[in-house]
């Protein structure tokens, strides 16, 4: 057997991650062990993953391997095809960036009460779990890896467990992760019931009735959608992701959500034998609602990390819009457009991983140097940490989907897919898809508003508090890692053709059609349908922009005019404004809060205190929390109280109940 094959390299990456996990266990009194040895292992594993991903995208053949582990009748199988390769590439990229970042970042924890072995150990397990999920070729290994990922990330969310907010977020996360795990297991159960065994190979051949197919799809959507953070099952995400250390937030938002997207694609496009167009409608609808609500809730946040977490909800929504369109076109017999929608969704998956990791790492840098997460205390950080300022700006531009950066490419492809709605015969669908496109447009514009707020309040203006004045340049590790991701944002935006060419194996595998014509005119051009329908040339756009800037700058800055005189802020000639007179994040979002007021739960009170001064209090919360979660919460507690009556506190009683349950189950099976 050839030892140098993509799948072996992938397993090497998993082994390296586990090594990093084991090495970290010894880092109790020796932080250098975590910072240099464990993170080097993690970084090497990331590089190995990237290589594997690119390699398998290049060769485009599925690579199978049986592991000497697992159950006696069901050995674990791993399989590396184009889809797994692509997600391995995403995991690898972000893991590498995080491994470069972490040595600079964990210094924050090495002198306190926080335990470095816990941090490093679970980070390794977490990454290994994600790598194994995308490699798994049977439901058993998939679920084991999935739980490894969920449980180890729980310990990372509650890493700072002395804070009650972390504990609460952790509990919520654990509950939601298990609801998701359970529904995924049920979805696999349906497939395995018809296919005979738990291996994916058998599931693909299973003959399902349309009813059972839809049931399996519904369960998978519920399970993977919960884990990915689709509205209305997103409530755990903005609590859990910010609670973890920032580089772990980057991994969770950047990569873990993508693993859920992977599961959804694997299930609906690959394992289920046929695709129904009505699934596409549901996914498209959920995606649109998630993206719009995600960005609106993000606008109301002034905790930097929580805001970014809400943007993950938004971007997952955009990814699912692409996938929904793809399912819709695949179900109505338009494989070419299905391929386009799939590429749009997948490209956004990669883009979101890159810019969200970049933004979380930037937020981590800010938290590291100022000790603050609240934007209202920041301001003027651009002059104190210029490199982070530049990289964060690139992240903001990318996530706001502005050309020529990467977020724009995937939204452009999604729009192009939606604009082909005229090929459909169903008039309702033809008019539904444009509405989804309108929601995508609104989402994009609101995201830009939100990131003007983030960047303007955090990096521009003047320091609003003592914490922001304390801000200093961050160390080289953190800067390098952010710079790497920022360059990637630009490259992915300027050379989309190269990557789409590589990705062609995925639609080939899943919908039986590739998009070779999208790059037919060379790497300079992107022509998703054909050149007369739409074309975009990011490299030429970049050249044109740079040429105009250079021209206008060089024309205007000649000679004597070069001089710039520094003075005070003019501000319409009023007295010089102080820091407290700047617009705050809350003030910036106020018009939008008023226009979309119905979607939020707003509590606003003005109290007059004893000394005559006024206290203004404003709380904006998720309406869904009260509509959906509180009733369920109450119901669960009520049910638990009822069930609690059978708790006698005696072991005999419990054993009796177990015996009874077993007997009933046996009777049911026989």
């Amino acid at each position: 057997m050839n030892l140098m094959s993509p799948v072996n390299l992938a397993l090497l990456a998993v082994l390296l991650t586990l090594t990093s996990s084991v090495v970290s266990l010894g880092s109790g009194g020796r932080p250098w062990l975590l910072r240099y040895v464990a993170m080097a292992c993690l970084g090497l594993s990331g590089i190995a993953s990237v290589t594997t991903g690119l390699w398998s995208l290049q060769v485009q053949t599925a690579d199978l391997l049986q592991l000497p582990m697992g159950l006696p009748w069901l050995p674990w199988q791993v399989r590396l095809d184009a889809l797994s390769g692509f997600f391995l590439l995403i995991i690898g990229l972000i893991t590498t960036a995080v491994a470069i970042y972490a040595p600079g970042y964990v210094t924050e924890y090495q002198n306190g009460r926080d335990s470095l072995p816990v941090l490093g150990g679970f980070t390794g397990l977490f990454v290994a779990g994600m790598q194994l999920v995308v490699l798994a070729d049977d439901a058993f290994l998939f679920m084991v890896a999935w739980e490894l990922m969920s449980l180890s990330s729980y310990f990372l969310v509650t890493f700072q467990h002395e804070q009650s907010a972390s504990r609460r977020a952790g509990l919520l996360y654990l509950i939601m992760a298990h609801i998701s795990g359970l529904t995924i297991l049920l979805a696999f159960g349906v497939l395995a019931g018809f296919g005979g065994t738990f291996s994916f190979e058998a599931m693909r051949l299973a003959e399902l009735s349309p009813g059972w197919g839809s049931a399996a799809f519904g369960l998978a959507l519920l399970g993977f959608g919960t884990k990915a953070g689709l509205v209305p099952l997103h409530a755990w995400l903005p609590e859990a992701h910010p609670a973890a250390p920032s580089h772990i937030s980057a991994l969770m938002s950047g990569v873990m959500l993508k693993v859920a997207v992977y599961g959804f694609i694997r299930m609906s496009f690959d394992l289920l034998p046929m695709i129904d167009w009505s699934w596409g409608v549901i996914v498209l609808l959920l995606g649109s609602v998630s993206s719009l609500l995600g960005v609106l809730y993000a606008l109301m946040q002034h905790d930097l990390k929580k805001l970014l977490a809400y943007h993950s909800v938004e971007n997952i929504g955009i990814i699912f819009m692409g996938l929904g369109l793809s399912l819709l076109f695949a179900g109505t017999g338009h494989p070419l457009l299905a391929a386009l929608g799939l590429i749009a969704g997948l490209y956004h998956t990669l883009n979101h991983a890159v810019f969200k990791a970049l933004l979380f790492l930037g937020a981590g840098a800010i938290v590291h140097t100022t000790g603050q997460k609240d934007m209202e205390h920041m301001g003027g950080l651009m002059r104190r940490m210029p490199w982070t300022g530049l990289f964060f700006l690139i992240g903001c531009i990318s996530i706001s989907a502005l050309p020529p950066f990467n977020g724009f490419i995937s939204e452009w492809l999604t729009f192009q897919t939606a604009l082909q709605a005229w090929v459909l015969e169903n008039g309702v669908l033809r008019s539904l898809i444009p509405i989804a496109a309108a929601m995508l447009a609104l989402t994009g514009a609101l995201a830009a508003a939100c990131f003007v707020k983030v960047y303007g309040v955090t990096f521009l203006g003047r320091a609003r508090g003592r914490a922001a004045k304390r801000a200093r340049k961050i160390n080289l590790y953190m800067r390098t890692s952010q710079g790497l991701l920022a360059v990637l944002c630009l490259l992915l935006g300027v050379f989309p053709g190269v990557l789409i060419n590589l990705m062609n194996g995925i639609p080939n595998l899943l919908v039986g059609q590739n998009l070779t014509h999208a790059t037919r005119n060379g790497w300079l051009w992107l022509t998703p349908i054909n050149a007369s329908v739409a074309s975009y040339s990011a490299p030429l756009v970049l050249i044109a922009v740079l040429a105009i800037w250079w021209l206008s700058a060089s024309l205007l800055r000649r000679g004597e005019q070069r001089r710039i005189r520094r003075t005070q802020v003019w501000d319409c000639g009023f007295s010089t404004p102080n820091e407290r007179m700047q617009y705050t994040a809350t003030a910036f979002a106020q018009p939008i809060r008023r226009v979309y007021g119905l979607l939020f739960r707003i509590e606003e009170t003005v109290d007059t205190l004893g000394d005559g001064s006024r206290r203004h209090k404003l709380q904006v919360t998720d309406r869904l929390w009260n509509l959906l979660y509180e009733p369920v919460n109450r119901w669960v507690f009520a049910a638990a109280r009822r069930v609690g009556r059978i708790q006698s506190g005696q072991v005999r009683g419990y054993l009796g109940w177990s015996l009874g349950t077993l007997v009933v189950l046996l009777w049911l099976i026989s």
Partner: protein, 328 residues
Amino acid sequence: MVDFLSSNSWSSSSWLLVAVQAALYAVAAPLLSAWIKKVKSHLQNRRGPSLLQPYRDLGNLLAKEVLMAHTASPLFRSAPYIVFGTTLLAATVVPLLVVRLPIETIADVIVLVGFLAMARFFLALAGMDVGSAFGGMGSSREMLLSALAEPAMLMAVFTLAMTAHSTNLASMITTNLDAGLVLRPSYLFALLGLLLVAVAETGRIPIDNPATHLELTMIHEAMILEYSGRHLALMEWAAQLKLMLYGVLICNVFFPWGMVSQMPLGYPAIAVAVVSLIAKLALLGMVLAIAETVNAKMRLFRAPQFLNLALLLALLGLFSNVILETGP
């Protein structure tokens, strides 16, 4: 359908035409604003400034020294160049006199909206940079209005795109040129929607007043309040370019007659194109001036209703296209 990438329009002489088109936009933009001001003054029984006044203003500003706040960051200095450059590029994408220039293949109408969003992003950031109270206010309002206007704009152009089966501006225009005088209900809705969006996006009455310096009502002026000298000139010029861009977009996409679409250019055809463009823009400018004279500026929180009307019109256009006009 013409495959624009493989057609012979892709030559160095056509790139020269692109450069000429960009220069024409830059040179003519102040004139359009001056024309609107002139008509408006006339309607209000004033003589109004000369048509050359905006050029003199720009010249003055370019010659002056730049004053900049101590608190300004590098972003403040580069924003005028970014805003001007991106707006000029966006304008160049819109065919002015000749259809099928190579620039139209490197960016379609969605990219055009993206360029405008990019310019606005930096304009709003620049407003927040020096840390004055008015700048943040302007940025916040601008981003609200744009968030409402952008979907309406995209829906209006999607209506056109659905008819032409293409998001390429040249394709849209040639489709309309070839179709001749056909009355499409969808176009009517899209035109109305796009007109409302154009009014909002270019900061005209009733959304914003370009002539105001009353602190609490400013939007665009508030964002560029701290600028001076050549930086201010670039910002003003970019605003004039944006007005021109929307004017040309509306004129040439909905009423493309007179434009040159055959590639060996002849002088008579160009003369016709120039005259027809001037006539169209002059007429549109008069319509805008009349609308600005008979309307008063709205309260900020009435603006969402105005823009929702635009979105609704555009969506109606799209629906009537999808239901009435396209068959599979």
